[in-house]
Amino acid sequence: MAIARLQVPATARAGEAVEVRLLVQHPMETGFRREADGRAVPMNVVNRLSVTYGGEEVFRAEMGSGIAANPYLAFWIVAKSSGEVVVEWVDDKGDKGRVAQPIAVS
C-alpha cells in the first residue's frame, strides 16, 4: 500500500508562486542491504517521479539509492490557471503511485 501526502494551497492568485510539498512513503531499498540469512535485498527505489500542473510537467525527480526512505520533496510553481497538481511515480518493482490535488486560481 503505497501512500503519499501532497500539500498545495487550495487557492492562489494568478502569477503567485506557491510551494508544493510532497512526502512519499517508500522503503527506498538501496540494494546493498542483506537479510539476516544473507540473502541480498534487491534494490527498490522510486526511480522516477513526475509532477504535472494542468497537464504540463513542472517537476521531475530521478532518484537513486542515495535518497533516504520516505522521500520528502518541496518545490515552487507559479500558479497560472485553475488545474490539478498530479504526482505520479514508479519504483524499480514497477509499482506505480498517484496522488492529485486541485488548485483554484483567481
Binding site: M1, I3, R5, Q7, R21, L23, Q25, P27, M28
Partner: protein, 255 residues
Amino acid sequence: MRAFAVLAGLVVLGAAAAEPSRPSPLKPGPDFQSADVRALQADDFANPGMLWVAKGRDRFRAKGANGRRCADCHGEEGEALRGAATRFPKHDGALGRVTDLAGRIDACDRRHRGGAGLARESDALLELETFVANLSRGMALAVSPEGSARGAWEKGRDLYFTRIGQLNLACTHCHDARWGRTLLAEPISQGHPTGWPAYRLEWQAVGSLHRRLRACFFGVRAEQPAAGSDELVALELYLATRAKGLPVEAPGVRR
C-alpha cells in the same frame, strides 16, 4: 556508602506510595535532539510519522475479520479514544495483567473484530498504535502506578535500577545520573516514553517504544526481552510514571 543510601531510599519508597525518582527539571525527548530533527517533528506535513497516522486511520475505518470496524465503536476520527494513550500501560481486567497500548489494541481486535492477533512491530499494529497515540498528542501522561498495576510498577522500578549486561549498567546510570551529557556523539536523554511510536531516522521507519528499549538492552550487551513481554511492559509503566505530566508527542522523530 552512596549505593547504600540509594538502596535504603528504595526500601522506604517500597513501603510508601509508588513514587518514581524523577529528574529535575523534566525534559521531553526533543530537548535532546538537534534543531533539524525537532523541526521535522514539529512540522505535521514533513513528519514522516504522519504517514503511519494516515495509514492507521484507514485501518481504523476498515472492516475487521467479522465485518466490524474500530470506528463503529470509537468514532470516525477515534474521538472516544482521545486521551486513551495517556493512561497506558494499565491493568486490564479481561486480560488479567498490565498491558501497554499495543497489547490493548490487539486484545480489542481479537475480542470485537474477530482478529487472529496482531504481531508486535507488524505494520498493522504499528499503524493503529501510532494513530491512537496521536489522538492524545499534547495531553499530559497520567499513568497510575497504584492498585492492580502496583506489582508491575515495582517490577519495572526494580528493572530500572538493576545493573544488566556485559557493560553492567542500569537505566538510572545514564538517564538519571548523566542526562544532558553525551555518549560518544549522542546526547543522553532523560528516557521519557512520550514520543512513541516514533519515526527513528536510524530505522527509517516508525517503531514502538519496545523496539527502542530493546536497542538500549542491546547497547549495554544484555539479553533483550521480547517486545510486548511482561518485563518491557513493566519498564514502560515505570517510565510513564516517571514522565508523568509531560505531553504525549506521538509520532515523535528521533535520531
